[in-house]
Amino acid sequence: MGSLDGIITGFQTAFSLEAILFVIIGVFVGTIIGMLPGLGPISAIAVMIPMTFGMDPATALIMMAGVYYGAIFGGSTSSILLNAPGVSGAVATSFDGYPMAQQGKAGKALAIAAIASFTGGTVSVVLLMLLAPALSSVAVSFGPAAYFALMLLGLTAIASLSEGSTIKALISAVAGFMVVTIGIDAQTGTQRFTFGNMNLLEGLDFLVIALGLFAIAEVCSLVLNRKDKSVKDTHNIGSLKLDKQDLKDMSGPMTRHSFLGFILGVLPGAGATIASFISYIFEKRLSKNPDEFGKGSVKGLAAPETANNAATSGAFVPLLSLGIPGSGTTAVMLGAFLVLGVQPGPMLMTDRPEIFWGVIASMYIGNIFLLIINLPLIPYFAKILKIPRPLLISLVIVFSMIGVYAISFNTFDLYMLLLFGVIGFLMRLFSFPAPPFILAFILGGMLEQSLRQAMTISNGSLSIFLDDKIALGLLILALLSFVFPLLKQLRKNKEKAAEA
């Protein structure tokens, strides 16, 4: 059976009444879960597994896939409105989404996020359909050396994430690196910086840090500035309508990051979070007005929102075509497949085309429904901002705590959340930017582990980075990305000197 027949079978499966009903349920549940900080798609899918027992496997998987990409779609809402990312893939969304909401343009920000998510989701499904079989080899082409180079490329972005003092941005990043080393070291099994505390053995969860540095720190600032009249504007939701200029601004990033996000999603371990950061940085580098970024830029919002949704579809490439889960969520999805008697792997496409193509085809429908569900609800979501400030602040604290507690039902994490809230607040007071900290925390773990894996494999010889062509290419890119802004700066300084 050729793959065209398979695609047709897939569409037939996906367009059955039952499948459509369950994809709607899936994306709806996903949107809600994504919006609530902490409750991620992992726990939602795991809890659903026993419920799907006995269901038609294609339908059940279509629903669970819906929960997954629905959560990434919905994750932007709380990032934009409350600066409290609902899922880790939505942290970069808050960089420009939250400032936009503060400027009284919450409605517009949510609309941009919804349209960017829809575009990223849909374009990447097309890519998934066309390229899934071909891309399976790309998914495994990255060895440890190449991952190290990719992480290094991501790190060169620290400079772009900093406003003001580069030194302060670097200090913030170093702190992020230090924090990520807490826990059992995978390569030796040694405990690092756990101080004999069992709760630190597995290190700190990303959401504890993100919610602490962003949501809790924001709450502290709001309390401190409560007499400041200018903040009152946030009660305004503003119009949902996007003008021509907005659409023009969005079209570039949406096109670019549908592709970039998808490719990064294909790589196991990279995923939506890393894709959204790299896209954000990439877009800032391309921009003629990089100063707008972080202050409510349309491009800065559209880029990560497109990329994280595109990456989610990308993550299905290794899962469906190789049976390799690239992230925690896809690992749980793999478990769901097994429970339903379906073994994802290289044979899935020929053995069970209705499932392989059915899940992919259902994503078109899922993305359309996500747009339909999300757009009309925006005015209602945005009303959150009309809640009186003291109440809203309390709600943010409560939701952040519930979210963190839901990660592992451990009260220790709550203390850590508060600790990072205080750290985040102090960082604001002394204008140390938080994004480099988060970026280093995300990339640092894989950067270190892949470097050491590579070094073990090569018996300590650095030549592994030259022999691995992908690694070499990425290292050159990283070098350029590092040197160009420096040259630019030098030229500027010279011009200034000449003028003076």
């Binding site: 992992i42 726990s43 899918i45 795991a46 809890v47 597994i49 026993p50 027992f53 998914a139 495994v140 082409s141 990255f142 060895g143 440890p144 050396a145 059992i184 070291d185 995978a186 390569q187 030796t188 099994g189 405990q191 069992m198 709760n199 053995l201 597995e202 196991p268 371990g269 290794p318 190789l322 049976g323 390799i324 889960p325 690239g326 992230s327 925690g328 690992a331 749980v332 478990g335 097994l338 429970v339 008697g341 073994q343 994802p344 792997g345 290289p346 044979m347 899935l348 990660i407 592992s408 039902f409 451990n410 582990q449 050491r452 894996q453 073990t456 494999i457 018996n459």
Partner: protein, 336 residues
């Protein structure tokens, strides 16, 4: 604070009273020799996050126990994640003698304490019943030069630096030790084995792209790649050949003249000092679970094998396991 506590305490005592009134008995089961029957809902702890092996085992067992009405009453599965299991274990350790708290565990119950990452080991709990066995498989790429384990181990003896083994867990834990155990029996100098740990299913990726040479993993993880002709399984660690399509083609280490096995066992424990009647009750129920058709179906779905051990057999088995692993960890210099 007091204002809050009072209604909470009232609510709790009312709930307890309601539970107790079900069968007239209150709270604890009668002491000594008598029949045991759960008097409140049973909590099965998976000492890991949702979706992993422990979680799946706990949820599937709870489902069958209830749906097949093997245990009459409510069973809830909770996740206590952290420290590779240590967080869940210390939670259970608080419930000494409580017959309504169980947990699911597997070889990390041996490895983690020996690696100094948990103050509790299997002796601080009551092993109730083992239900499942799984085995390790050592896979290489289809185009690798080794056709069987002996060829691989010969090369490892000659030039240990040229071969990299990958697994998901850190050194001293399961994926590493299962390989070490077999390699040792084949006469390899285990202190020279080059092992890297790759999280998030990175092991298969690194094997397929040629970064590493051998992937030490569970049998089930290899099946699809073998079917697709991408990897070859040089050996599995079961006593006899496994059953099932593809699985039956995997040679055991034993039949290749390496006299060693490794079992990834999985079973249920309770807190310390359980009364004998409660242990007996659960032994019986887990035996019924293990023999049920519904659970057999689940075993097949996940590629698990049946391995029932009652409390006494289980304890002896675990003591022996620990001794074996201790010797290997000492030699590797990883013991704490």
């Amino acid at each position: 604070m007091k204002k809050l506590l009072l209604p909470a305490a009232l609510g709790l005592s009312m709930m307890l009273a309601a539970c107790g009134s079900d069968d007239g008995a209150s709270g604890n089961a009668e002491s000594g020799g008598g029949e045991f029957k759960p008097t409140e809902s049973i909590e099965i702890v998976a000492p890991a996050g949702a979706g992993g092996g422990w979680d799946t085992t706990a949820r599937m067992a709870a489902k069958v126990l209830q749906e097949e009405e093997i245990i009459d009453g409510k069973i809830g599965v909770t996740n206590k994640e952290g420290g590779g299991g240590a967080v869940g274990w210390s939670y259970i350790a608080n419930y000494e003698g409580n017959p309504h708290k169980l947990f699911v565990t597997s070889p990390p119950m041996i490895f983690i304490p020996l690696n100094g990452q948990s103050e509790y080991d299997h002796e601080d709990f009551t092993p109730i019943a083992n239900v499942i066995a799984d085995y390790a498989a050592f896979a290489v790429r289809e185009d690798a030069k080794w056709q069987d384990l002996n060829e691989l181990f010969e090369d490892m003896k000659k030039d240990p630096a040229s071969i990299t083994v990958v697994g998901t867990s850190s050194p001293g834990s399961m994926d590493h030790m299962q390989f070490v155990q077999i390699a040792k029996a084949a006469g390899v100098d285990i202190t020279k084995i080059k092992y890297v740990s790759a999280q998030d299913a990175g092991g298969m990726t690194q094997l397929l792209n040629g970064s590493v040479d051998v992937y030490s993993t569970g049998v089930a993880e290899t099946v699809e790649q073998v079917k697709a002709g991408k990897v070859r399984v040089l050996g599995v660690t079961s006593e006899e050949r496994l059953e099932g399509e593809v699985l039956e083609d995997f040679p055991t280490a034993k039949e290749q003249g390496i006299d060693e096995t490794f079992i990834n066992w999985r079973g249920f424990f309770g807190p310390a000092d359980l009364e004998p009647a409660a242990v007996e009750y659960y032994e019986e129920k887990f035996k019924e679970l293990s023999d049920s058709e519904a659970f057999a179906e689940i075993r097949e779905q996940f590629g698990w094998n049946e391995m029932y051990l009652d409390s006494e057999e289980y304890k002896a088995f675990l003591d022996e396991q620990r001794e074996d692993i201790q010797v290997l960890l000492d030699e590797l210099g990883l013991a704490k």
